[in-house]
């Protein structure tokens, strides 16, 4: 795929998935990888940053004798996601406008 996903778009995708359901690193990586062209190694920094910025919080749950670190969205995260969503829609709209060749 020609498009690269980074920064805000990836943040938005992660927040959107975690908002629906608390999830853990491995599952999240593959959920996103199913749809988008990302490398498995890119998600840890994203999760770390979102957690550090208080958009996500983590909790550990035992699973088969080990720990599974779940990520869940915070109130701040929801607000941030809303902002990102709006910006994304505006961005898409602008690209579409250009593609359709409409001039304002």
């Amino acid at each position: 795929m020609a498009f690269q996903y980074s920064g805000a778009v990836l943040d938005l995708c992660v927040l959107a998935i975690v908002e629906k359901e608390d999830t853990y690193g491995y599952k999240l990586t593959h959920q996103i990888k199913d749809k988008l062209n990302i490398s498995e190694s890119t998600l840890y920094p994203v999760l770390r940053r979102l957690t550090k910025d208080n958009y996500l919080k983590t909790y550990d749950q035992p699973f088969e004798g080990r720990n599974r670190r779940y990520y869940s969205i915070t109130l701040e995260g929801k607000l941030h996601m809303k902002e990102l969503k709006q910006e994304w829609s505006a961005y898409i709209e602008n690209v579409e406008t250009i593609l359709k060749g409409e001039s304002r």
Partner: protein
């Protein structure tokens, strides 16, 4: 895949693929020098990732994640991008040209030179009473300078108070009393404002110039005295 094999140093290891433990060890090594907590979290995540995939998918995961040093580099880049503004910029600020080292020295020097001068006078082989007198004179001048700072601060406080009080009187009595009285209040307020400016200027001069200059003057005299002694 190829680069994973290539990472291992000698010929014997080149033939067999990297194990999970080796991979994680390599990442940990690459992250050396970073905050322990950050490092631990990154390694925990990696461990969990391998666990989730299952033992039989170890090689697949390694292939997916890419070479250990490259993986570590991604984490490093993220950590560096975050720590820089917090930890390094204050360091840089200390050394910028807007704050030359000379100036920093100047700020400390008044107190230091006073101490040196006092010690020096005690050490001079002149008559002790004379030295004692000199110390007292210097101390007295120094106390006067500090007292000046305090008194100017008091002037400042009083004037601020005066502006409030007379401003209040002016507003509450405006139009009800003789215009001359209102004019007098305005005069007092303006006078206080002027005094505030003067007192601030005075305090600034004393702290930035007066006291340091005096201590430098003392040290100059002290040096001259010592030269004469020699």
């Amino acid at each position: 895949m190829v680069s994973i094999y290539r990472e291992c140093g000698n010929d014997f290891e080149r033939r067999k693929p990297m194990t999970r433990t080796e991979y994680i060890q390599r990442v940990e090594l690459e992250l050396g020098g970073f905050n322990e907590a950050d490092k631990r979290e990154a390694i925990e995540y990696l461990n969990e990732y391998f666990d989730e995939a299952g033992v039989d998918k170890e090689q697949e995961v390694i292939a997916e994640l890419g070479p250990a040093d490259k993986y570590a580099r991604i984490i490093k880049a993220d950590l560096i991008a975050e720590t820089k503004p917090l930890e390094e910029i204050p360091e840089i600020r200390k050394n910028t040209y807007s704050n030359p080292p000379e100036r920093i020295q100047d700020k400390q020097s008044p107190w230091k030179t006073i101490g040196i001068v006092l010690l020096g006078i005690c050490a001079l082989p002149v008559a002790l009473p004379l030295a004692f007198a000199a110390i007292m004179v210097i101390l007295a001048i120094f106390i006067v300078l500090i007292a000046l700072v305090f008194s100017l601060a008091m002037v400042f406080l009083c004037c601020v108070l005066a502006i409030f009080l007379f401003g209040f009187r002016l507003i509450t009595t405006l139009g009800q009393v003789d215009f001359g009285i209102s004019l007098f209040f305005i005069g007092v307020i303006l006078l206080s404002a002027g005094l505030i400016i003067l007192s601030v200027l005075g305090i600034r001069w004393l702290i930035k110039k007066g006291i340091p200059d005096f201590s430098r003057w003392c040290s100059r005299i002290y040096k001259k005295l010592r030269k004469k002694e020699n």
